[in-house]
Symmetry: C2
Subunit: 226 residues, 2 copies
């Protein structure tokens, strides 16, 4: 599918703004829209839609908000800018601890990757049992990118158990039982993301999935050898 | 070993104070002391000694300090008191979220258990390679409770790899690479505690160790079946 990609003005002052692009099909009617495939979830399950937007485009929230360093979350593509450039947007990286800076920089991703991630996550969310049935144009849009959508086909990226849409229930409080997860935590792109149980995502930590599986296998080997 | 168990006055205003007891051998010379076996580490590795005291006697730190609910950490035996009794010590449990209350109450342990945990952790810390050699009276005291101390015999409670004393290096910032861990996270007593890598403790989460091992085994079975 060819996309419109008309530039859209960002409403955030913490945004270098050159990147917001209309994701509607090329030659579409009506308004430009960055997240057209989220229109339906925004009505039926607004906290889920907000979570998909947030997880795909923003760094994780951090405990450094109090340090007068800008917003609690930062747009992932802002993390591609230099410290000097970020200062112009009111984000003072130098005031943050090396640990926080590393964590933020690790979440860097360009705008196009973030848009692909949001699309992929929406496609996955609709395939959880308990999810609303997507409106036809949204289904067609998403399937054009990732193929046929089948309910019961979204599994936890880490533990491989099925994920039910109800797990999003606590998303409002920023502590859903399901989280956006990465096969490789340092790569934020559609081929590398999925959903995972919160406890699975926490257990995986900074490891890639192959590293995580090798790690737990070695633990079990030692436990059994005792 | 029979202990002195003379009552010692607590210096904390968040303490019901009936519980502080001298842990020196019965009939000892000199001052009463609640942590006589930590005297040496207090000099050689004060952050490690402070960590052992803190982990054995206090609940984990919480993000609720700002809610005007008393200290950031609370003595574990205070968590055995009722909400009404706690109010008298300036700790207003009702002002906290149900989630935080549950987390705090889960850390409850009586004073005697906490004292046993501190002793056991000290015994374990001295057996890590890189630890200082315990002063003779401290070695004798600890071995009287838990048996012979041998360097290289302290393993991560979770992953069973050896733990080096250097892992305590970041303890000052409250983020050591080694943490106090529990085979069953809801039981705080000497038979149930040990040290673990921070990442192992986080991965274990709220599960007991048998639950954790069964969980990761099932994950590996599913991954291999794919």
């Amino acid at each position: 599918m060819e996309l419109c990609l008309q530039r859209i003005r960002s409403t955030s002052r913490f945004d270098n703004a050159q990147h917001r692009l209309c994701q509607m099909p090329k030659g579409h009617d009506g308004k430009h829209d960055e997240f057209p495939y989220l229109r339906h979830l925004l009505k039926t399950n607004p906290t889920v839609a907000a979570k998909i937007k947030r997880d795909s485009t923003m760094t994780t929230g951090a405990a450094w908000k109090s340090e007068d360093a800008g917003p609690n979350r930062i747009l992932r593509w802002m993390m591609l800018l230099s410290d000097e450039e970020l200062l112009e947007y009111g984000v003072n990286m130098v005031a943050l601890s090396a640990q926080v800076v590393a964590k933020l920089r690790e979440k860097a991703a360009n705008y196009e990757s973030c848009m692909r991630v949001a699309r992929k996550l929406t496609w996955l969310a609709y395939q959880m049992p308990g999810a609303p049935v997507p409106l036809e144009p949204i289904r067609i849009y998403l399937e054009d990118f990732y193929g046929s959508m089948n309910v019961h086909s979204t599994y936890c990226l880490v533990c491989r158990l099925p994920l039910h849409f109800d797990l999003f229930a606590n998303a409002r409080r920023g502590k859903a039982d399901v989280e956006t997860a990465h096969s490789n935590p340092r790569i934020h792109d559609d081929s590398n993301v999925g959903f995972a149980h919160r406890e699975c995502n926490i257990a995986q930590g900074a490891k890639t999935l192959p590293e995580f599986y090798a790690w737990i296998e070695a633990i079990l080997d030692r436990v059994k050898a005792d």
